[in-house]
Amino acid sequence: MGQVTLDVYDLLKRGGSFLQFQINNMIQNQLNNYSLIDVAKSQTNTLTKKIKKVQQYTEQTAAVLNFPTKTDLSNATQLILQSEEKIDNIDEQIFQMAKMLHEMKELVEKIALSHHDTADSPISASLSEEIAKQEEEIATLQQEMLHVKQKMAEQKEQLILTETPSVDPYKVN
Protein backbone atom coordinates (compact mmCIF):
# COMPACT_ATOMS: atom_id res chain seq x y z
CA MET A 1 0.00 0.00 0.00
CA GLY A 2 1.43 3.35 -0.97
CA GLN A 3 1.53 5.98 1.73
CA VAL A 4 -0.42 9.19 1.06
CA THR A 5 1.17 12.33 2.50
CA LEU A 6 -1.17 15.11 3.42
CA ASP A 7 0.29 18.50 2.52
CA VAL A 8 -1.39 20.96 4.88
CA TYR A 9 0.05 23.95 3.08
CA ASP A 10 -1.20 22.73 -0.25
CA LEU A 11 -4.67 22.24 1.21
CA LEU A 12 -4.48 25.69 2.77
CA LYS A 13 -3.52 27.21 -0.57
CA ARG A 14 -6.26 25.43 -2.50
CA GLY A 15 -8.93 26.19 0.11
CA GLY A 16 -7.74 29.77 0.47
CA SER A 17 -7.73 30.35 -3.29
CA PHE A 18 -11.24 28.94 -3.58
CA LEU A 19 -12.46 31.17 -0.76
CA GLN A 20 -10.72 34.19 -2.34
CA PHE A 21 -12.45 33.44 -5.61
CA GLN A 22 -15.84 33.27 -3.87
CA ILE A 23 -15.26 36.52 -1.91
CA ASN A 24 -14.12 38.34 -5.04
CA ASN A 25 -17.06 37.12 -7.04
CA MET A 26 -19.38 38.36 -4.32
CA ILE A 27 -17.67 41.77 -4.12
CA GLN A 28 -17.68 42.20 -7.90
CA ASN A 29 -21.37 41.26 -8.09
CA GLN A 30 -22.22 43.66 -5.28
CA LEU A 31 -20.35 46.51 -6.94
CA ASN A 32 -21.88 45.79 -10.32
CA ASN A 33 -25.22 47.48 -9.66
CA TYR A 34 -27.12 50.48 -10.96
CA SER A 35 -27.60 52.26 -7.61
CA LEU A 36 -23.83 52.48 -7.17
CA ILE A 37 -23.50 53.76 -10.74
CA ASP A 38 -26.07 56.46 -9.90
CA VAL A 39 -24.07 57.50 -6.82
CA ALA A 40 -20.87 57.68 -8.89
CA LYS A 41 -22.71 59.68 -11.55
CA SER A 42 -23.98 62.31 -9.15
CA GLN A 43 -20.89 62.51 -6.94
CA THR A 44 -18.26 62.76 -9.69
CA ASN A 45 -19.52 66.14 -10.83
CA THR A 46 -19.68 67.51 -7.31
CA LEU A 47 -16.19 66.26 -6.53
CA THR A 48 -14.82 67.70 -9.77
CA LYS A 49 -16.35 71.10 -9.03
CA LYS A 50 -14.86 71.10 -5.53
CA ILE A 51 -11.40 70.17 -6.78
CA LYS A 52 -11.59 72.91 -9.42
CA LYS A 53 -12.54 75.46 -6.76
CA VAL A 54 -9.60 74.48 -4.56
CA GLN A 55 -7.27 74.66 -7.56
CA GLN A 56 -8.63 78.09 -8.42
CA TYR A 57 -8.09 79.37 -4.85
CA THR A 58 -4.57 77.97 -4.82
CA GLU A 59 -3.74 79.72 -8.10
CA GLN A 60 -5.22 83.00 -6.88
CA THR A 61 -3.43 82.85 -3.52
CA ALA A 62 -0.14 81.95 -5.19
CA ALA A 63 -0.54 84.85 -7.62
CA VAL A 64 -1.01 87.31 -4.74
CA LEU A 65 1.88 85.88 -2.73
CA ASN A 66 4.12 85.52 -5.79
CA PHE A 67 4.54 81.75 -5.36
CA PRO A 68 5.00 79.57 -8.38
CA THR A 69 2.42 76.78 -8.42
CA LYS A 70 2.79 73.23 -9.67
CA THR A 71 1.06 74.34 -12.86
CA ASP A 72 3.59 77.18 -13.37
CA LEU A 73 6.51 74.81 -12.94
CA SER A 74 4.98 72.18 -15.18
CA ASN A 75 4.38 74.84 -17.84
CA ALA A 76 8.07 75.75 -17.69
CA THR A 77 8.99 72.06 -17.93
CA GLN A 78 6.69 71.72 -20.94
CA LEU A 79 8.67 74.44 -22.71
CA ILE A 80 11.82 72.40 -22.18
CA LEU A 81 10.03 69.30 -23.43
CA GLN A 82 8.97 71.14 -26.59
CA SER A 83 12.56 72.26 -27.19
CA GLU A 84 13.74 68.70 -26.55
CA GLU A 85 11.32 67.49 -29.22
CA LYS A 86 12.64 70.05 -31.69
CA ILE A 87 16.28 69.20 -30.95
CA ASP A 88 15.43 65.56 -31.47
CA ASN A 89 13.92 66.34 -34.87
CA ILE A 90 16.96 68.45 -35.87
CA ASP A 91 19.25 65.65 -34.72
CA GLU A 92 17.35 63.23 -36.96
CA GLN A 93 17.71 65.61 -39.92
CA ILE A 94 21.44 66.06 -39.26
CA PHE A 95 21.80 62.28 -39.18
CA GLN A 96 20.05 62.03 -42.55
CA MET A 97 22.37 64.73 -43.94
CA ALA A 98 25.44 62.90 -42.65
CA LYS A 99 24.16 59.72 -44.26
CA MET A 100 23.61 61.51 -47.56
CA LEU A 101 27.10 63.06 -47.46
CA HIS A 102 28.59 59.66 -46.82
CA GLU A 103 26.73 58.25 -49.82
CA MET A 104 27.89 61.21 -51.92
CA LYS A 105 31.48 60.59 -50.91
CA GLU A 106 31.21 56.98 -51.95
CA LEU A 107 29.64 58.04 -55.25
CA VAL A 108 32.44 60.54 -55.96
CA GLU A 109 35.02 57.86 -55.31
CA LYS A 110 33.17 55.42 -57.56
CA ILE A 111 32.84 57.93 -60.41
CA ALA A 112 36.50 58.86 -60.13
CA LEU A 113 37.48 55.21 -60.36
CA SER A 114 35.15 54.49 -63.29
CA HIS A 115 36.66 57.39 -65.23
CA HIS A 116 40.16 56.05 -64.56
CA ASP A 117 40.59 59.08 -62.43
CA THR A 118 42.68 58.76 -59.32
CA ALA A 119 41.56 59.93 -55.94
CA ASP A 120 44.44 62.45 -56.16
CA SER A 121 43.07 64.20 -59.25
CA PRO A 122 42.14 67.87 -58.62
CA ILE A 123 38.34 67.49 -59.04
CA SER A 124 37.76 64.38 -56.96
CA ALA A 125 40.33 65.53 -54.40
CA SER A 126 38.63 68.91 -53.91
CA LEU A 127 35.18 67.28 -53.78
CA SER A 128 36.31 64.68 -51.28
CA GLU A 129 38.00 67.36 -49.24
CA GLU A 130 34.82 69.47 -49.23
CA ILE A 131 32.70 66.50 -48.17
CA ALA A 132 35.15 65.57 -45.43
CA LYS A 133 34.99 69.16 -44.16
CA GLN A 134 31.18 69.04 -44.13
CA GLU A 135 31.27 65.71 -42.34
CA GLU A 136 33.53 67.16 -39.71
CA GLU A 137 31.20 70.12 -39.22
CA ILE A 138 28.21 67.83 -38.94
CA ALA A 139 30.01 65.70 -36.37
CA THR A 140 30.74 68.85 -34.33
CA LEU A 141 27.11 69.89 -34.67
CA GLN A 142 25.97 66.49 -33.47
CA GLN A 143 28.23 66.78 -30.43
CA GLU A 144 26.87 70.24 -29.69
CA MET A 145 23.29 68.99 -30.00
CA LEU A 146 24.08 66.21 -27.56
CA HIS A 147 25.54 68.74 -25.15
CA VAL A 148 22.46 70.98 -25.43
CA LYS A 149 20.19 67.96 -24.91
CA GLN A 150 22.11 67.01 -21.77
CA LYS A 151 21.91 70.57 -20.43
CA MET A 152 18.18 70.63 -21.07
CA ALA A 153 17.72 67.27 -19.37
CA GLU A 154 19.50 68.67 -16.30
CA GLN A 155 17.27 71.77 -16.26
CA LYS A 156 14.20 69.60 -16.66
CA GLU A 157 15.29 67.38 -13.75
CA GLN A 158 15.76 70.49 -11.63
CA LEU A 159 12.30 71.78 -12.47
CA ILE A 160 10.67 68.40 -11.87
CA LEU A 161 12.39 68.15 -8.48
CA THR A 162 11.09 71.60 -7.53
CA GLU A 163 7.65 70.72 -8.83
CA THR A 164 7.46 67.43 -6.93
CA PRO A 165 6.46 67.84 -3.28
CA SER A 166 8.00 65.55 -0.64
CA VAL A 167 4.91 63.32 -0.78
CA ASP A 168 3.96 62.99 -4.42
CA PRO A 169 0.56 61.39 -4.97
CA TYR A 170 1.65 60.36 -8.47
CA LYS A 171 4.59 58.30 -7.36
CA VAL A 172 4.56 54.93 -5.68
CA ASN A 173 7.27 54.26 -3.13
Binding site: G16, Q20, I23, N32, I37, K41, I51, I160
Partner: protein, 342 residues
Protein backbone atom coordinates in the same frame (compact mmCIF):
# COMPACT_ATOMS: atom_id res chain seq x y z
CA UNK B 1 10.72 22.41 9.85
CA UNK B 2 7.53 24.38 10.50
CA UNK B 3 9.49 27.08 12.27
CA UNK B 4 11.92 27.35 9.37
CA UNK B 5 9.05 27.62 6.92
CA UNK B 6 7.43 30.46 8.89
CA UNK B 7 10.75 32.17 9.46
CA UNK B 8 11.46 32.09 5.69
CA UNK B 9 7.93 33.30 4.99
CA UNK B 10 8.22 36.26 7.39
CA UNK B 11 11.76 36.95 6.18
CA UNK B 12 10.50 37.23 2.59
CA UNK B 13 7.71 39.58 3.64
CA UNK B 14 10.10 41.90 5.46
CA UNK B 15 12.57 42.04 2.56
CA UNK B 16 13.16 45.72 1.86
CA UNK B 17 14.54 46.18 -1.60
CA UNK B 18 15.18 43.58 -4.22
CA UNK B 19 17.19 44.42 -7.35
CA UNK B 20 15.51 44.02 -10.75
CA UNK B 21 16.52 44.68 -14.37
CA UNK B 22 20.04 43.25 -14.09
CA UNK B 23 20.74 42.28 -17.71
CA UNK B 24 23.55 44.10 -19.51
CA UNK B 25 21.98 47.15 -21.16
CA UNK B 26 22.86 50.53 -22.62
CA UNK B 27 20.69 53.62 -23.04
CA UNK B 28 20.89 54.69 -26.67
CA UNK B 29 18.22 57.38 -26.80
CA UNK B 30 16.39 59.46 -24.22
CA UNK B 31 13.43 61.71 -24.55
CA UNK B 32 11.51 63.26 -21.70
CA UNK B 33 11.25 60.33 -19.23
CA UNK B 34 11.48 57.65 -21.90
CA UNK B 35 14.63 55.63 -22.53
CA UNK B 36 15.43 53.31 -25.38
CA UNK B 37 17.51 50.47 -23.93
CA UNK B 38 19.77 48.23 -25.95
CA UNK B 39 20.45 44.69 -24.72
CA UNK B 40 23.25 43.16 -26.84
CA UNK B 41 22.96 39.48 -27.63
CA UNK B 42 25.63 37.14 -26.30
CA UNK B 43 26.30 36.03 -29.87
CA UNK B 44 24.21 37.57 -32.62
CA UNK B 45 22.49 34.84 -34.58
CA UNK B 46 19.62 36.69 -36.27
CA UNK B 47 19.61 39.68 -38.59
CA UNK B 48 16.45 41.28 -37.22
CA UNK B 49 16.67 42.57 -33.66
CA UNK B 50 13.69 42.52 -31.30
CA UNK B 51 11.94 45.76 -30.37
CA UNK B 52 9.88 45.54 -27.16
CA UNK B 53 6.94 47.77 -26.25
CA UNK B 54 5.58 47.46 -22.75
CA UNK B 55 2.42 48.77 -21.13
CA UNK B 56 2.04 52.42 -20.11
CA UNK B 57 0.60 51.63 -16.67
CA UNK B 58 3.24 49.21 -15.32
CA UNK B 59 6.99 49.21 -15.11
CA UNK B 60 8.83 47.38 -17.86
CA UNK B 61 11.24 45.53 -15.54
CA UNK B 62 8.83 42.56 -15.51
CA UNK B 63 10.57 41.64 -18.76
CA UNK B 64 13.91 41.51 -16.95
CA UNK B 65 13.23 40.53 -13.33
CA UNK B 66 16.54 38.80 -12.58
CA UNK B 67 19.06 36.44 -14.16
CA UNK B 68 17.21 33.27 -15.20
CA UNK B 69 13.92 35.09 -14.66
CA UNK B 70 14.12 37.32 -17.66
CA UNK B 71 12.46 37.21 -21.05
CA UNK B 72 14.97 39.76 -22.32
CA UNK B 73 17.82 37.50 -21.20
CA UNK B 74 16.20 34.60 -23.04
CA UNK B 75 16.15 36.72 -26.23
CA UNK B 76 19.79 37.77 -25.92
CA UNK B 77 20.86 34.20 -25.06
CA UNK B 78 19.06 32.96 -28.17
CA UNK B 79 21.03 35.42 -30.32
CA UNK B 80 18.60 38.32 -30.77
CA UNK B 81 19.82 41.87 -30.16
CA UNK B 82 17.01 43.44 -28.14
CA UNK B 83 15.69 46.98 -27.74
CA UNK B 84 13.15 48.11 -25.17
CA UNK B 85 11.27 51.40 -25.12
CA UNK B 86 10.76 52.19 -21.44
CA UNK B 87 8.30 55.10 -21.12
CA UNK B 88 9.53 55.98 -17.61
CA UNK B 89 7.31 57.53 -14.96
CA UNK B 90 5.30 60.47 -16.32
CA UNK B 91 4.87 63.52 -14.15
CA UNK B 92 2.30 66.32 -13.88
CA UNK B 93 3.94 68.17 -16.79
CA UNK B 94 3.05 65.21 -19.03
CA UNK B 95 -0.68 65.38 -18.30
CA UNK B 96 -1.48 66.44 -21.89
CA UNK B 97 0.31 63.45 -23.43
CA UNK B 98 -2.12 61.42 -25.53
CA UNK B 99 -2.06 57.88 -26.87
CA UNK B 100 -1.30 59.43 -30.28
CA UNK B 101 1.81 60.99 -28.68
CA UNK B 102 2.89 57.66 -27.21
CA UNK B 103 2.66 56.11 -30.66
CA UNK B 104 4.11 58.82 -32.88
CA UNK B 105 6.45 60.73 -30.54
CA UNK B 106 7.84 57.84 -28.51
CA UNK B 107 7.28 54.40 -30.09
CA UNK B 108 7.82 55.39 -33.71
CA UNK B 109 10.81 57.62 -32.92
CA UNK B 110 12.36 54.98 -30.68
CA UNK B 111 11.86 52.40 -33.43
CA UNK B 112 13.65 54.66 -35.92
CA UNK B 113 16.49 55.16 -33.42
CA UNK B 114 16.76 51.43 -32.84
CA UNK B 115 16.85 50.84 -36.61
CA UNK B 116 19.57 53.50 -36.88
CA UNK B 117 21.57 51.97 -34.01
CA UNK B 118 21.23 48.41 -35.28
CA UNK B 119 22.09 49.47 -38.85
CA UNK B 120 19.25 47.37 -40.19
CA UNK B 121 15.96 48.18 -41.89
CA UNK B 122 13.41 46.06 -40.03
CA UNK B 123 12.81 44.45 -36.67
CA UNK B 124 10.50 42.08 -34.85
CA UNK B 125 8.12 44.19 -32.76
CA UNK B 126 6.76 42.58 -29.60
CA UNK B 127 4.05 44.30 -27.56
CA UNK B 128 2.94 43.22 -24.12
CA UNK B 129 -0.46 43.90 -22.57
CA UNK B 130 -1.49 47.48 -23.33
CA UNK B 131 1.89 47.86 -25.05
CA UNK B 132 0.63 45.30 -27.55
CA UNK B 133 -2.44 47.40 -28.24
CA UNK B 134 -0.13 50.35 -28.92
CA UNK B 135 2.15 48.12 -31.02
CA UNK B 136 -0.86 47.11 -33.15
CA UNK B 137 -1.80 50.72 -33.84
CA UNK B 138 1.85 51.63 -34.44
CA UNK B 139 2.24 48.78 -36.95
CA UNK B 140 -0.89 50.00 -38.77
CA UNK B 141 0.15 53.66 -39.06
CA UNK B 142 3.92 53.62 -39.46
CA UNK B 143 5.77 53.79 -42.75
CA UNK B 144 8.67 51.89 -41.19
CA UNK B 145 9.29 48.29 -42.21
CA UNK B 146 8.37 45.65 -39.62
CA UNK B 147 9.57 42.07 -40.07
CA UNK B 148 7.27 40.39 -37.52
CA UNK B 149 4.66 41.51 -35.03
CA UNK B 150 4.07 39.58 -31.82
CA UNK B 151 1.24 40.55 -29.48
CA UNK B 152 1.28 39.08 -26.00
CA UNK B 153 -1.88 39.26 -23.88
CA UNK B 154 -2.86 42.46 -25.68
CA UNK B 155 -6.47 43.68 -25.46
CA UNK B 156 -8.00 44.55 -28.83
CA UNK B 157 -11.75 43.94 -28.58
CA UNK B 158 -13.11 45.73 -25.51
CA UNK B 159 -16.73 44.72 -26.14
CA UNK B 160 -15.96 41.45 -24.38
CA UNK B 161 -14.99 43.03 -21.08
CA UNK B 162 -14.79 40.23 -18.49
CA UNK B 163 -16.56 41.85 -15.48
CA UNK B 164 -18.67 44.88 -14.45
CA UNK B 165 -21.02 44.70 -17.43
CA UNK B 166 -23.43 47.24 -15.89
CA UNK B 167 -20.63 49.78 -15.48
CA UNK B 168 -19.57 49.16 -19.07
CA UNK B 169 -23.13 49.67 -20.22
CA UNK B 170 -23.33 52.95 -18.27
CA UNK B 171 -20.02 54.03 -19.78
CA UNK B 172 -21.21 53.21 -23.31
CA UNK B 173 -24.52 55.03 -22.78
CA UNK B 174 -22.67 58.10 -21.58
CA UNK B 175 -24.22 57.83 -18.11
CA UNK B 176 -20.81 57.63 -16.46
CA UNK B 177 -18.66 60.53 -17.57
CA UNK B 178 -15.27 60.99 -15.92
CA UNK B 179 -13.39 63.02 -18.55
CA UNK B 180 -13.86 66.28 -16.69
CA UNK B 181 -12.75 64.76 -13.39
CA UNK B 182 -9.62 63.24 -14.95
CA UNK B 183 -8.82 66.50 -16.78
CA UNK B 184 -9.15 68.34 -13.47
CA UNK B 185 -6.73 66.11 -11.57
CA UNK B 186 -4.42 66.00 -14.63
CA UNK B 187 -2.79 62.65 -13.97
CA UNK B 188 -4.29 59.31 -13.00
CA UNK B 189 -2.33 58.36 -9.86
CA UNK B 190 -0.72 54.90 -9.64
CA UNK B 191 -3.03 53.90 -6.80
CA UNK B 192 -6.07 54.48 -9.03
CA UNK B 193 -4.55 52.11 -11.55
CA UNK B 194 -3.50 49.61 -8.91
CA UNK B 195 -6.92 49.40 -7.26
CA UNK B 196 -8.74 49.64 -10.60
CA UNK B 197 -6.81 46.62 -11.88
CA UNK B 198 -7.38 44.84 -8.58
CA UNK B 199 -11.12 45.45 -8.82
CA UNK B 200 -11.19 43.64 -12.15
CA UNK B 201 -8.83 40.82 -11.17
CA UNK B 202 -9.26 40.24 -7.44
CA UNK B 203 -10.51 42.93 -5.03
CA UNK B 204 -9.35 40.75 -2.13
CA UNK B 205 -6.04 39.11 -2.79
CA UNK B 206 -4.17 36.89 -0.33
CA UNK B 207 -3.71 33.58 -2.18
CA UNK B 208 -0.21 34.61 -3.28
CA UNK B 209 0.79 34.72 0.40
CA UNK B 210 -0.51 31.17 0.81
CA UNK B 211 1.52 30.16 -2.24
CA UNK B 212 4.60 31.73 -0.62
CA UNK B 213 3.90 29.94 2.66
CA UNK B 214 3.59 26.65 0.82
CA UNK B 215 6.95 27.02 -0.90
CA UNK B 216 8.82 29.35 1.44
CA UNK B 217 11.59 26.76 1.91
CA UNK B 218 12.46 27.01 -1.76
CA UNK B 219 14.91 29.95 -2.12
CA UNK B 220 14.41 30.17 -5.90
CA UNK B 221 10.66 30.41 -5.51
CA UNK B 222 11.07 33.06 -2.76
CA UNK B 223 13.26 35.16 -5.03
CA UNK B 224 10.79 34.95 -7.88
CA UNK B 225 7.83 35.63 -5.59
CA UNK B 226 9.48 38.73 -4.13
CA UNK B 227 10.22 40.17 -7.54
CA UNK B 228 6.78 39.37 -8.95
CA UNK B 229 5.14 40.85 -5.85
CA UNK B 230 7.24 44.01 -6.14
CA UNK B 231 6.17 44.41 -9.77
CA UNK B 232 2.49 43.73 -9.01
CA UNK B 233 2.43 46.65 -6.57
CA UNK B 234 4.58 48.93 -8.71
CA UNK B 235 2.21 50.85 -10.95
CA UNK B 236 2.92 54.21 -12.52
CA UNK B 237 0.74 57.24 -13.11
CA UNK B 238 -0.89 57.77 -16.48
CA UNK B 239 -1.42 61.14 -18.19
CA UNK B 240 -5.08 62.15 -17.92
CA UNK B 241 -5.44 62.80 -21.66
CA UNK B 242 -4.09 59.32 -22.49
CA UNK B 243 -6.43 57.76 -19.93
CA UNK B 244 -9.48 59.55 -21.35
CA UNK B 245 -8.52 58.57 -24.89
CA UNK B 246 -8.08 54.94 -23.82
CA UNK B 247 -11.42 54.89 -22.02
CA UNK B 248 -13.35 56.68 -24.77
CA UNK B 249 -11.84 55.49 -28.05
CA UNK B 250 -10.54 52.07 -27.13
CA UNK B 251 -12.83 50.82 -24.32
CA UNK B 252 -16.16 52.66 -24.69
CA UNK B 253 -16.33 53.05 -28.50
CA UNK B 254 -14.21 49.94 -29.18
CA UNK B 255 -12.78 51.74 -32.22
CA UNK B 256 -10.15 49.11 -33.08
CA UNK B 257 -12.95 46.69 -33.90
CA UNK B 258 -15.80 49.07 -34.78
CA UNK B 259 -13.60 51.38 -36.85
CA UNK B 260 -13.11 55.13 -36.64
CA UNK B 261 -9.79 55.13 -34.77
CA UNK B 262 -7.58 58.04 -35.78
CA UNK B 263 -3.99 58.87 -34.93
CA UNK B 264 -3.22 62.57 -35.26
CA UNK B 265 -6.34 62.91 -37.40
CA UNK B 266 -5.37 60.12 -39.82
CA UNK B 267 -7.72 57.08 -39.92
CA UNK B 268 -6.09 53.83 -38.84
CA UNK B 269 -6.49 50.89 -41.22
CA UNK B 270 -5.42 47.63 -39.58
CA UNK B 271 -5.38 45.99 -42.99
CA UNK B 272 -2.07 47.85 -43.44
CA UNK B 273 -0.50 45.29 -41.10
CA UNK B 274 0.93 42.81 -43.55
CA UNK B 275 3.94 41.50 -41.65
CA UNK B 276 3.92 38.01 -40.12
CA UNK B 277 1.86 38.00 -36.96
CA UNK B 278 1.88 35.92 -33.79
CA UNK B 279 -0.77 36.60 -31.15
CA UNK B 280 -0.74 34.83 -27.84
CA UNK B 281 -2.87 34.94 -24.76
CA UNK B 282 -3.13 32.81 -21.64
CA UNK B 283 -5.86 30.51 -20.34
CA UNK B 284 -6.05 31.86 -16.81
CA UNK B 285 -5.93 35.61 -17.31
CA UNK B 286 -8.85 37.43 -15.70
CA UNK B 287 -7.50 40.83 -16.78
CA UNK B 288 -7.07 40.19 -20.51
CA UNK B 289 -8.88 36.96 -21.43
CA UNK B 290 -8.27 35.50 -24.88
CA UNK B 291 -11.62 36.83 -26.23
CA UNK B 292 -10.12 40.33 -25.97
CA UNK B 293 -6.98 39.37 -27.91
CA UNK B 294 -8.04 37.00 -30.67
CA UNK B 295 -10.19 39.37 -32.82
CA UNK B 296 -7.04 41.09 -34.19
CA UNK B 297 -6.63 37.99 -36.38
CA UNK B 298 -9.57 39.07 -38.57
CA UNK B 299 -8.49 42.70 -38.89
CA UNK B 300 -4.98 42.48 -40.28
CA UNK B 301 -3.82 41.99 -43.86
CA UNK B 302 -1.08 39.50 -42.87
CA UNK B 303 -1.09 36.20 -44.69
CA UNK B 304 1.07 34.41 -42.13
CA UNK B 305 -0.78 34.77 -38.82
CA UNK B 306 -0.91 32.49 -35.80
CA UNK B 307 -2.89 32.55 -32.57
CA UNK B 308 -1.67 30.52 -29.60
CA UNK B 309 -3.36 30.03 -26.25
CA UNK B 310 -0.90 29.17 -23.48
CA UNK B 311 -1.35 27.71 -20.03
CA UNK B 312 -0.70 30.30 -17.33
CA UNK B 313 -1.68 33.77 -16.21
CA UNK B 314 -1.21 37.37 -17.35
CA UNK B 315 2.47 37.80 -16.44
CA UNK B 316 3.55 34.20 -15.96
CA UNK B 317 5.08 33.79 -19.41
CA UNK B 318 7.63 36.55 -19.13
CA UNK B 319 9.37 35.65 -15.86
CA UNK B 320 11.13 32.46 -16.90
CA UNK B 321 14.58 31.31 -17.95
CA UNK B 322 13.50 30.63 -21.52
CA UNK B 323 10.93 31.94 -23.98
CA UNK B 324 7.69 30.00 -24.15
CA UNK B 325 8.54 27.21 -26.62
CA UNK B 326 5.96 28.01 -29.37
CA UNK B 327 7.20 31.61 -29.38
CA UNK B 328 10.84 30.53 -29.59
CA UNK B 329 10.07 28.20 -32.47
CA UNK B 330 7.94 30.81 -34.27
CA UNK B 331 10.65 33.46 -33.93
CA UNK B 332 13.31 31.04 -35.14
CA UNK B 333 11.25 30.28 -38.24
CA UNK B 334 10.42 33.92 -38.96
CA UNK B 335 13.81 35.60 -38.50
CA UNK B 336 16.82 35.57 -40.81
CA UNK B 337 19.90 33.78 -39.50
CA UNK B 338 22.97 36.03 -39.87
CA UNK B 339 24.78 33.39 -41.94
CA UNK B 340 22.04 33.49 -44.58
CA UNK B 341 22.18 37.25 -44.83
CA UNK B 342 23.19 38.48 -48.26
Amino acid sequence: MVLRRFSNFLGALSEDEIPVGLSEKYPIWKKNKATLWYYPSKQKKFKEPIFLIYSVVNKAYILDLAPSLSLIESFTNAGYDTYLIDFGIPGFEDRHTTIDDYITKYIEKAYKRAIRHAETDEMTVIGFCLGGTLATVFAAVTDQKIKNLILAVSPIDFSKFPVFDKWMEALRNGEVEIDDFIDTIGMVPPDFIKYGTRLIVAPVSYSHYLALLKRSNDPKYREKWLRMNKWTLDHISLPGKAFNQLMNDYVRDNKIIEGGLEINGVPVDFNNITCDLLVFSTKYDPLVPSELCEPIMDLVGSEDKTFILFEGGHASLVANKTMPFPMEEWLFNHCTPVDDDC
